[in-house]
């Protein structure tokens, strides 16, 4: 029996959500949040998320069912960001010295012992209760440090997943996270004691 055209349309556009929509729905706020942090404006974040989702939909047939969809779509988001104007600028201006030291897990190259003031943890803790100060410190992070911190702390991803998304070794993930936290700590310490010199 031949179906009438509108009945055939029904089978396509019915109220049932597609597998893609079911997978992407819960991740939409996370994608937007990370996109906003990276692109630093709502307009750019909207463009970035839309482009990411459309790319993901077009390439959905290449996604292997049962594998990590979150890592897959965040990788598309990240690659889309890198090819955007803001992403290209970030890549040009940030020196990824941590990659030169990917095997150096001491984490002391950028922040030698003594650069962090161990004597004032209470001040740092007070600063941590101040969301605005913490967000300001995060805003100061270079994109490679910010993205790794967002994926680890906000998206609660494992180092292995982050390594897949960012296409870097796990050692580099570990090193970047440590440097990102050291940088935040330094910013918070400086903010809490503007007149005090940081020991070097």
């Amino acid at each position: 029996m031949m179906l009438l055209p509108w009945k055939r349309t029904d089978t396509v556009s019915g109220s049932q959500t597609s597998p893609f929509e079911e997978l992407v729905g819960p991740l939409f706020p996370s994608l937007y949040n990370v996109a906003f942090w990276l692109s630093r404006s709502s307009a750019n974040a909207e463009d970035l998320v839309q482009e990411t989702l459309l790319k993901a939909l077009r390439g959905f047939n290449t996604f292997e069912s049962g594998t990590n969809f979150k890592a897959w779509i965040f990788r598309i988001l990240r690659n889309t960001y890198l090819t955007s104007q803001g992403g290209l600028a970030a890549r040009r201006t940030v020196a990824l010295e941590d990659e030169l030291n990917a095997n150096d897990e001491s984490g002391t190259a950028q922040y030698p012992e003594g650069a962090i003031d161990h004597q004032t943890p209470e001040l740092n803790l007070i600063q941590m209760g101040n969301q605005a100060a913490l967000q300001a410190a995060m805003e100061k992070l270079p994109a490679p440090f910010l993205e790794v911190l967002l994926l680890c702390d906000v998206e609660e991803m494992r180092y292995k997943e982050i390594a897949i998304i960012l296409e870097i070794p796990i050692g580099t993930v570990m090193s970047r996270i440590a440097r990102a936290r050291a940088s935040i700590r330094q910013t918070l310490t400086t903010a809490s004691e503007p007149s005090r010199e940081i020991r070097r």
């Binding site: 031949m2 009438l4 055209p5 509108w6 055939r8 349309t9 029904d10 396509v12 556009s13 109220s15 959500t17 597609s18 893609f20 929509e21 992407v24 729905g25 819960p26 939409f28 706020p29 937007y32 949040n33 906003f36 942090w37 709502s42 909207e46 998320v49 839309q50 989702l53 459309l54 939909l57 077009r58 897990e105 001491s106 984490g107 922040y111 012992e113 161990h118 943890p121 803790l125 941590m128 209760g129 969301q131 913490l134 967000q135 995060m138 911190l149 967002l150 680890c152 702390d153 906000v154 609660e156 180092y159 570990m174 090193s175 996270i177 440590a178 936290r181 050291a182 935040i184 700590r185």
Partner: protein, 265 residues
């Protein structure tokens, strides 16, 4: 004692990413070094604070609707491209009906998708916030090393202590798993709601089990997650919502939680 734990090791410790050997070495060092213990606590608290501060931007409903529409249109287009490969007998009289039906279904689809996204995102954000707050309190409790408000391993002492302090009552299991003891309890607040914090020792590990009056929120039952290296496990009974936090291995925490959940029935 000269070799303090490096920043990447302290970070990985907070993230629960150390291997068994690394964890054993780090634990050994922390037991002897107050400086690194302070740093480890700082990293853990910084991780929690960053998680909260990082959840900053929410998409507008307009954006959700627009993107949902684009996705739906593209999906339809893709499906029609596939269909167009087949021979189709189209009755021109049906074009109007087809367009109207497609529009109607599209609207319903968008509304359902948007509703589903909103509900799922809200529930997931609420759960993440609750888990974070429970973890923070547990960590603060460990760091403060202050005694519980009621110190007793006797459930007949701990439960009555909450009389008049909480707008609900709960049961405590008679028998606990081997190696697990009740240390006491605190009256606390989670998400601004009065909560009983039960403190247990599981071997050398400490566990906090938070009990609240069951809320109307849609909360997952038996949801298990890792947060800042701690295992977080929740349960729901007819009258009580519970959430447990500990760094003990998941099966042992799960045993304790199952017994407490069963005691509420």
């Amino acid at each position: 004692m000269n070799d303090h734990l490096s920043a990447p090791i302290l970070s990985a410790l907070a993230d629960g990413e150390l291997s068994a050997d690394q964890l054993a070495n780090a634990s050994h060092h922390l037991s002897q070094c107050p400086l690194c213990t302070g740093d480890a606590l700082y990293h853990s608290l910084l991780k929690s604070a960053t998680a909260k501060a990082g959840q900053r931007y929410m998409p507008t409903p307009n954006l959700r609707a627009r993107v949902a529409l684009q996705i739906r249109e593209l999906s339809i287009q893709n499906s029609q491209d596939i269909d167009s490969a087949r021979p189709i007998a189209r009755g021109s009289g049906f074009y109007g009906w087809a367009a109207a039906a497609a529009l109607l279904l599209l609207s319903v689809g968008i509304a359902l998708v948007q509703y589903g996204w909103n509900r799922s995102a809200t529930a997931s954000a609420q759960y993440a916030a609750l888990a974070t707050e429970a973890c923070d309190q547990h960590i603060a409790n460990l760091a403060g090393n202050s005694p519980p408000e009621v110190i007793s391993s006797d459930r007949h002492t701990v439960k009555p202590w909450f009389q008049g302090k909480l707008p609900f009552s709960f049961n405590l299991p008679e028998n606990l798993p081997s190696g697990t003891t009740l240390d006491g309890a605190n009256l606390t607040y989670l998400h601004g709601r009065p909560t009983a914090q039960l403190l247990y020792s599981v071997g050398k590990h400490r566990a906090s089990v938070y009990l609240q009056k069951r809320s109307d929120d849609k909360m997952a039952n038996g949801h298990s997650t890792d947060h800042s290296g701690f295992h977080v496990l929740d349960f729901r009974s007819r009258d009580i919502d519970g959430i447990a936090v500990s760094d003990v291995d998941s099966p042992r925490l799960s045993d304790l939680v199952s017994l407490i959940a069963r005691a509420q029935e």
